[in-house]
Subunit: 328 residues, 4 copies
C-alpha cells in the first residue's frame, strides 16, 4: 500500500490551537523530503467538500512556525456529516490525485475522519491539536503548553492588581469538560483554589478555603475555574455567592476567553508539532492508516484513532495533591 | 516654605496602574538625593488615617521599577471623606514629622488631596497614575502606554483565532467614560471598528460597516468597544444584536477586564514615572503645592490640581480620522 | 500639481525597524481611501532600479500591522549612488506610471531621495523609520519605542541572574553615534550607570560610581553602554578594565545586537506608523514634496527633508539628570 | 530516621535558572503542610559555611512563583571544597537544628552535597535546576523550558530583521558541553542549521548546506550554534569563515548570553518546580537521602545522586532527524 502514496493532503479542523501552523509546515516539509507532493486543504472538511485545495511547496510554509492560528483556516462542517458531503469530498480528493490525509484537530475531526475512512477506505492519520489536552493517546496535545503560558501570564497581571487592592478574583479558563488546563495553569499561577469538573469541591468548602486563605495573611486570592466545572454556578454567580457570604472580600471576575487559543506557540509546541508532522507523514508512507500520532513518555507513539476518540484522559491526581499542598 | 520640607510621604490611591512602583521608587530616590527622608504610606488614604507608615530608604525600592501593581497597596477610602478621617490623617502626619505628600492616583485621589490641603494647609503634589489617560494637564498618565500594549497583544492573539475561523469579535476594553484606550488600542490592533463614548456610531452604521468589511474580503473582524461606550448596548447585547441582523457572521465576545491594569510597565511608563517622581519631589522642595506633575509636549509641566480634576481630555480627532481611513 | 498624483510608490530602505509594516499598511490604505493606486517597491532603492514593483491593494496589507521587519524588504544600494542607477530607477517609475514616492527609512534613505528629487523633480515624502531616534524633525522615529521595550525586557532577565549572583553586567545597546536608546532604556531598566556618546563619564568616574553602588548595598549592577560611546573601550575591554580594577565584582558582558531591530511593534509604534502613513500620502496629494513627516509635540508635523538630514537631535538633559538621581 | 526530621534547610547553588523560586516556594509550603520548619540558606554553600540562615514561613514565599533568579541567591564556593569549610557548615546546621537539606542546582551542587553527606551522614535531596538539561535522571531540568522559550522568542525577532535584509545569522546559545538547548531551540525557531557538540557537521557540509538553503529560495538563514560546539570555530570565526567562502551572504552574529538564564518561568517550569519541591521534602520525610528528584515519563522519580552526577544525557536522535527534515 505504501507505494501508492504520491500525494498527501493536510487540513486543520475544529477549534484552532497554537502549533497548528508548525504542524502544517512539518507535514509539508516531510513530504518534500520524501519527494512526494503535499496539498493544503482550506477550511477543514468544508474545503474538502468544495475542493478548496492548493499545492504547498517547502517554501510556501516559510516563516509560519512561530505564528498562531492556522494558515489553512478551520471550520466546523455540517455537510461532512452527510453521505453526500463525504461523497463530494472523496471525488475532489480523487480528482486531485490525493492518496492520503493528515487531519489536525480534536475528537470531532478524528470521528469525521474515521467515518470517511470506513466509507472510502481512504488512508488517514490524525494529529491532536487542541488547547484542552483532552485526547487519549498523547501526553500533550498541540497548543496546550502555549495556552498554559498565556493563562499564567494573564493571571500574573491580574495578581498585580488583585494584590494591590486585596481582591479576590475568579478567573475562568477554557478546557471544555476537562480540567487539565485549569489545574496546570492554576498551579503555575499560584492560585489559591482551583475548581475543575473532575472534583466537586462544593460551595461550603470553597468559602472555608477562602476564609482560611484570608486569615493566613494572603494579600489577594485567585481562584481558577474550569469552564466545565460542576460546582453549579458560573463565575458570575460564584462572585455573587461569595460576595453575599464573605463580607471581607472585594470580588471580581475575569473570563479569559478566546485569547487562550491564539498567540505564538511556545518552543515546546513548535518542537512537538515538528515531530508529529514527520511521524504522521512517515506513518502514511509505511502504509498505515487510522492512527493518531501522539507523544507518550517523550517518544512518538501511534494510537488507533478509534481508541483516541473513545478514551478518556485522567486528571493527574499527584498534581491535584501538589495544588492542595501549595495553598497551605 | 521650602526649608521646612524635611520629610515627604508618598501614597498610591484609587485604581492601580503599571508604573506606580517606578514612581514610588523615583520619589524615594529623589528624596535620598536631596537628603531628606521619605515615608511610604500604605493603602492610600486608609493608611494615612490609620498611620500605616514605613520609612523607605533608597535601597528599599531596589528591583521594583519593572513590577506591576503598587508596593504601597491602594484602596478607596470612605473615611477620608469625613472630617474626622482627615483629622486623624493629619495627626498621624504631624506625629510622624511628615511635611508634604506626593499622591499617586487619579481624579478621586487629587480631589481628596485638595480638600485635605484646604483644611490643613498641607503641601501636596499629584502624579497622574491611571490606565485611562483621562487627566487634564498631561499628555500621558502612568500606565496608559503599558495598558495599550497589553490590549494590542491580547487582540493579536484573538485575531489569530478570529481569522482562522472567520469570526467577528467584540472586545471590551477599559477606560471608564473616555475612549482614549479604546481608540489607540483599536488603531494599534487594526480593529475594523472602534466604539467610543465620544462618538455615537449608531447601530445601523455599525451593521453597515461590518457588512462592508465582510464584502471587502476581510477574513475576520475585531470591534473594540470602550466600556463607557454609549451605543446603548453592552458587548453581550451587541453580539446578540449582530447575530440577529448579520447572518454571515459567527460572533464572539471578549471582556478584557482587570488584566489591563497589571503587568510589567513599558519602558515609556518607567521613564515617565522616573521623571514625574523627580519633578514631584523637587516641586515640593521649591515650596509649591497643589500642582499635578504632567508631561506636556515632552517636557515636565505643572498644572494646578484644581484644573486637573475639572478639566477634560479631548479625544484626538486626527486619530479618529486615521482610524476611519485604516478600515478602508 | 496635486491633480497629477494618481499612483504612489512606497519603499523601505536602510536598517529595518518595527512599525515599518504598519507604515506600509497605512500608506496603502490611505491610497485606497483616496482612490489612487499604490505600488510596493521591493528591497529599497535596489528594487527601484530593477523595477521590482507590485501593486498593493487594501487587502494585501491585512494582518501585517503587528509584524516586525518589512514585507517590502530592505537593502542598502550602491548603484543608487550612481547617476545610471537613478536614471534606471526613474525610467521604471515612469513606465509604471508612478507619480510620487513615500520613502520609509533614515538619514541615508532621505539623502538618496533628495538627490533623486533634484535630478528628476520627482515628488517624495519621507517617513522616519529607525530604532535610533536620531532624526531631526520628529520626537519619535518608528521603532524606537519598540526597541526600548525589547531592551528593558532583556535587561529585566539579565538582572534576575545578575542579582542572584551579585554580578556586574555591561550591556551594549544599539544607537549608532547617539545615546537616545541607551539613555531611555538605561533609565527604564534601572541601570546603575549609562554610558552614552554625548557624555564622556571617564573611566575613573565609572570605577568610582561602581564602588559607591557596591557600598550602598546594591546586590547587582547593570551598566548600559551605547554602541557609539566614546569612553575609549568597547564592552569587552570595559569588562577587563573593571575586572582588573575592582576585585569585588564578577563582571559579565552582553551585546544585545540585532534582536533590537525585530519583534512585534508596540502599540505606540503602530499608532505612530498609522498616523505617519496618512500624513505622508495626504501631503503628496496636497502637491508638496521633500518633506519628512514627524511627530512634534504630539501632532503630525512636516520638516523639510534637507533639514531632517542635517539637523541633530539633542540628548534630553533633564532625563540625564533623572538618571543620575535614580542611581543615588 | 524519618521521625528525626523536624527542620529542613533549602539552598540554591551554581548557575541560577528560572523556576528556582517556584521550587523554593514549594519546599517551604510542603514543610508548612507537614508542620515542620523550613530554613532558607543564602548564597548556596557560601551561606551554609557562614550560617546565613533565615526561617521561611509559608507566607514569606508569597508572590515569587513567577519570578526569575533565586530569592536565596546563588554562588560558587571554593571554601566548601575544603574540609574546614564543610565542618563549619555542619556546625551551623547543627546549631540551627536543621536535620536535612534540599539542594537546588546542577552537577557541581550535587557533588558537593554527596561529599558533605559522606562526611557527616547528613540527609540531602537534590532538585535539578539548570537551563542546560544535562542531568541524568530527569527528562527536564528546571529552567530548560523557559530558556527554550526565551531563545525562540529572541530568534523570532532576529529573523524579522534577517529576512528583511536577506542575511545569515549565527546565533550562539548556552548549554555548556551539551546540545539540548541548541537542538530544541533550533527546531523551535526554524533554524536552517543547528551546530551541536554531539554532531560534528564539519565546515564543508555547513557551507554546502547554506548554499543549498540559498538556492532553495530562503530569504534568510539562522544557524543556531551551541556554545560547546566542536566545529573548531567560535561564532565570530564562523562568521569570518563564511564571509570568505560564501560571497552571496551578509553574515551577522548574535551571542544570546545570560538573558537565557533569567525571566519569568514558563508554566511548565512552575508546575515542575512545584511537583519537585513536594517530592523532595516528602522523600526526606520518608527517611531517604542521596537522591535526586526528577521527572521521568511524566511522573516524579528518584535517582541516586551518585548516578545523576555520573550519568550522561543523550541527544534525542529522532529530534536531530526531524531537524534535518525541516530544513529541506
Amino acid at each position: 500500500m505504501s507505494e501508492k502514496i504520491r500525494k498527501i493532503g493536510v487540513l486543520t479542523s475544529g477549534g484552532d490551537a497554537p502549533g497548528m501552523n508548525a504542524a502544517i509546515r512539518s507535514v509539508v516539509r516531510t513530504c518534500a523530503y520524501h519527494e512526494i507532493e503535499c496539498v493544503g486543504i482550506y477550511r477543514g472538511f468544508e474545503g474538502l467538500i468544495e475542493g478548496d485545495f492548493k499545492v504547498l511547496s517547502a517554501r510556501s510554509v516559510n516563516n509560519i512556525i512561530h505564528t498562531g492560528g492556522t494558515m489553512l483556516k478551520s471550520a466546523r462542517s455540517k455537510t461532512f456529516r452527510t453521505a453526500e458531503g463525504r461523497k463530494a469530498a472523496h471525488t475532489h480528493l480523487k480528482n486531485a490525485g490525493i492518496d492520503a490525509l493528515v487531519l489536525i484537530g480534536g475528537d470531532g475531526t478524528f470521528t469525521g475522519g474515521l467515518v470517511f475512512n470506513k466509507e472510502f477506505n481512504f488512508p488517514i492519520i490524525g494529529i491532536p491539536g487542541t488547547i484542552d489536552n483532552d485526547i487519549f493517546g498523547t501526553n500533550y496535545t498541540l497548543g496546550f503548553d502555549t495556552a498554559l503560558n498565556t493563562v499564567v501570564q494573564v493571571i500574573d497581571k491580574i495578581r498585580d492588581t488583585a494584590s494591590s487592592h486585596k481582591r479576590l478574583f475568579f478567573v475562568e479558563v477554557m478546557g471544555r469538560d476537562v480540567g487539565h488546563l485549569a489545574l496546570n495553569a492554576g498551579v503555575g499561577a499560584g492560585a489559591e483554589e482551583i475548581l475543575i469538573p473532575e472534583e466537586d469541591l462544593g460551595l461550603d468548602r470553597l468559602l472555608e478555603s477562602l476564609r482560611r486563605s484570608k486569615k493566613s495573611g494572603k494579600s489577594s486570592s485567585i481562584v481558577v475555574v474550569a469552564e466545565g466545572d460542576k460546582i453549579g454556578k458560573n463565575v458570575f454567580e460564584l462572585k455573587d455567592y461569595v460576595n453575599e457570604n464573605l463580607e471581607e472580600y472585594d470580588v471580581r471576575v475575569s473570563v479569559l476567553g478566546h485569547m487562550q487559543r491564539g498567540g505564538s506557540p511556545s518552543c515546546f509546541d513548535r518542537v512537538l508539532a515538528s515531530r508529529m508532522g514527520v511521524k504522521a507523514v512517515e506513518t502514511l508512507l509505511e502504509g498505515k492508516s487510522n492512527y493518531m500520532v501522539g507523544i507518550l513518555n517523550n517518544v512518538m507513539a501511534l494510537t488507533p484513532l478509534e481508541k483516541a476518540v473513545k478514551g478518556e484522559t485522567d486528571i493527574n491526581m499527584e498534581l491535584l495533591r501538589v495544588s492542595d499542598i501549595m495553598t497551605t
